[in-house]
Amino acid sequence: MAGRGRGQLTFSVEIVGIGKGENLPPSSVQPTPLFPPLAQKPVPLQTGEEAEYMLALKQEFRGAMKTLPFYIRPAAPKKGQFGVKDELCHKHGFAYMVAESPAVPKQPKQPRVDKEEIIRKLETLEQKEEDGSSDEEEGEKKKPEEEEAEGEEGYDEEEFEDETDYIMSYFDNGDEFGGDSDDNIDEAIY
C-alpha cells in the first residue's frame, strides 16, 4: 500500500492521460529562470490621446505630491516651526482628530531642572552686589531663559561628560555672565 517501493503513486497515471512507457519530460533540478523566454510576444501597450493624457496626469500628480506638506521627510522638525499636525489641527479645529491623552512627563528631567534653578539662584546671589537691583531682575528672568534656549543637547553634554552631579557651568568663574545683549527679554521660549 503506502510506501511500497519508490515511485508508487496513489492513482493510476493512465487516467490522467500518461500512457505506459511514455517518455515524460525530464524533471528539472534548478529553479525556473528569472526572465524565462516568452512563448508569445506580449500585446503592445495602448496608445492614443487618452493613454498619453493619463500618463501626463499621473506624472504631474506624482510631482505635485512631492511639494505638498503631506510628503513627510525623515528630518526632525525644528523647534518653533509648525509641523503638519498643527496646521491640520488648526484648520479642522479638532473636529477630525481626537486629542490623545497628554504624555506623562518624564521623571528624570525634574531633578535636573531643580538643580539648575538652585545653581542659578546661587549665582544671582553672588552677583547681587555688583549689578544692583534692576539688573538682578533682568538677570533672573534671562538666565533660566538662556539656559533653556540652549537646548537639550547642551544639557546632555554638560551633564554626562564626567558623570558628576554638578553641572559643568558651575565651575565657570562668571566672566561670561552678562555678556549677552539685554534685548528681546519678552521673547517667549518654549
Binding site: F11, S12, Q46, M54, F61, V84, A95
Partner: protein, 532 residues
Amino acid sequence: MTAQEVRLCGLLLQEHFGNVVEKVGTHLIRSGVLTLRALAHETKLPLDLVKKSLCVLVQHGMCTFGAGRRGPAGPVEYRINCERVFHMLRYPRYIYTAKSLYGDTGELIVEEILQRGQMTMSSTVKTVADRLTHNMPEGQSMDYSEVVSAFSQLVETHFLQRCPLASAGSSSSGAVDTPLPVATQPTEPESHPDCYKLPYINLTGQGKRRRSSEDGEADQCAAKKCGDDRIYWQVNFQRFHLHFRDQAIISAVSCKLDQSSSEIVRTMLRMSEVTTPAHAAFTQALSANEIFRALLSSYNIARPILDQYLSLLVDDPMEFVGKTGDSGGGMYVVNLHRALANLARATLESVVQERFGSRSARIFRLLLRKRHLEQKQVEDFAMIPAKEAKDMLYKLLSENLVQLQEIPKTPDYAPSRTFYLYTVNQLPTARLLLQHSYKTVGNLMERRLYETKENKRLLEKSQRIEAILASLQATGAEAAQLTEVEEMITVPERQQLESLRHHINKLDSSENQVDETIFLLKSYINSTQASL
C-alpha cells in the same frame, strides 16, 4: 491582506507621502489595529513623526480611528483602509473622467481635492480659479461663479460628497461626550443626511494671477469666513466606480454588437443612474416606451428599430439586457452583475490566450463552458491531438488556472475507480489573477524606482541645467550663452536621458493599463460577494 497587497500599499504610500508614512502605514496594515503608542514603539520612529503620518493618512481617508478594545475610556486605535490606498493607482483615471464630463474646471477641482484629501468648497474654488487664471492669456481671469457652478454639478451628480465627521459634538471642551464609533465600523458618509447638500457660501470674485510669493501671504490673511467652515468635501469613489462600470458595459456592447445598441444601453443606464442602488444586480425595469422617449434624437432610431435592437440584446448570449415583462411595450433591465461576470470571464480568457496561445485558450474556454471534463473528452471537444492537449492542460494546471477534481465511484477512493475531471472555477481564478495583477503593478513600480535611482546623477544634472537655462532666458541672455549651457550635456548623455524617459513612460503607462484589469476583476469579485 496578502503579501502582494501589503507590498503594493507600501510602494504607493512611499511614492505619494514619503518613507516615513510608508513605514507607519505598512506596519499598521500588517498589525491590523494599533494604538498610537504601540505604533510608535514598534516602528521605533519618534512620536511626532508617527503623529504627523497618521494625520496625513486620516486627512486622505486612508486611516480610520475609533474607540479601542478597552472601550471609550481606553486609548484610541487606528486602522488602515487598504482599498483606499489602492485607489491612488487610479487617480489619473478619476481626473480624466472629470475632465471628459465637466471640462477643465471639473478636472482641476477633482485634482485639487485628490491631492489634498479633503477641502472646503471655498478654498477649492479659490485655488482652482487661481490655477485657471494662471493659464489664461494676460488680462483675463476666471470668475469664481463658474468654478462654483462646476463644483455644484459635481456634487449634484454625487461625484463629490461631504466628509463624515468623527464626533458629532464640538470637541473644544477637550472631553468627547458622544461615544466614538468603534474602529471596526467607520461612519458611512452616505448616512449623513446632508451628504450632498451644498453650503451657502458668500464667495464672489475672480482668480488671482500669482505674480510673486508675497501675494500668497496676503491671500491667506484675508481668508474671509465664507460660511462653510468645517464642511469638507471628498471624492466619492464609489460613484466614479459605477461610472467606470457603465462605461465598460457600453464599450463591450459596442464591440460585440454595434454603435446603436451601445447607445440604447447607454440611455438605459443613464435613466436608471439615480434609481439603482450601488450594489444592485440589475437596474430598475424600464419600458420600451420610456426608453424611446429618452433616446436622444441625434441617434435617429425609429420605434420599430428600437424594438428589434432590444430583442437582439436580450437574445445575445452575453445577456447584457434582460426582459422582465411585457407591459409598456416590454420591460427591460440591464443585468449588471451578469455583465460584470462576462467581462471578467473575457478578461480571463484573454489572459490565457496571450500567455499560452490560442489552442490553450480554446481548452480554457471549453472548460469554462462545460464545467467538468475528463482528459479524453477535452481532447475530443477541443479537437486537439492528445499529446499536445495533455501538454497544454498540464501547463495550465501548473499555473493553477485549471484544477483537477476527483469524483470517487467507491468510498475508498481507489485510483482505478475514480473519475478525474478537469475544471475551471471562475471566481477563484479571478482572485488569482487579481493577486497577479497586484504583483505586476508592484514590480512595475519597483523597476521604475530602480531606473530612476540608477540615473539619479544624470537626472539631477539635467534638472540643474534646465534651471540655469530658464534663469538665463528670464534675464535675457544671448543665444551663444544658451547654446554653451545646453552643450554641458553631452550627446550620449542626452540619448541616455531620452531612453530613460521612454522607459519610465512605458512603465507608467503599463501601470495605468494593469489598473484597468484590477478594476474589472475587483468589481466582479465584489459583485459576487454582494449577492451572497
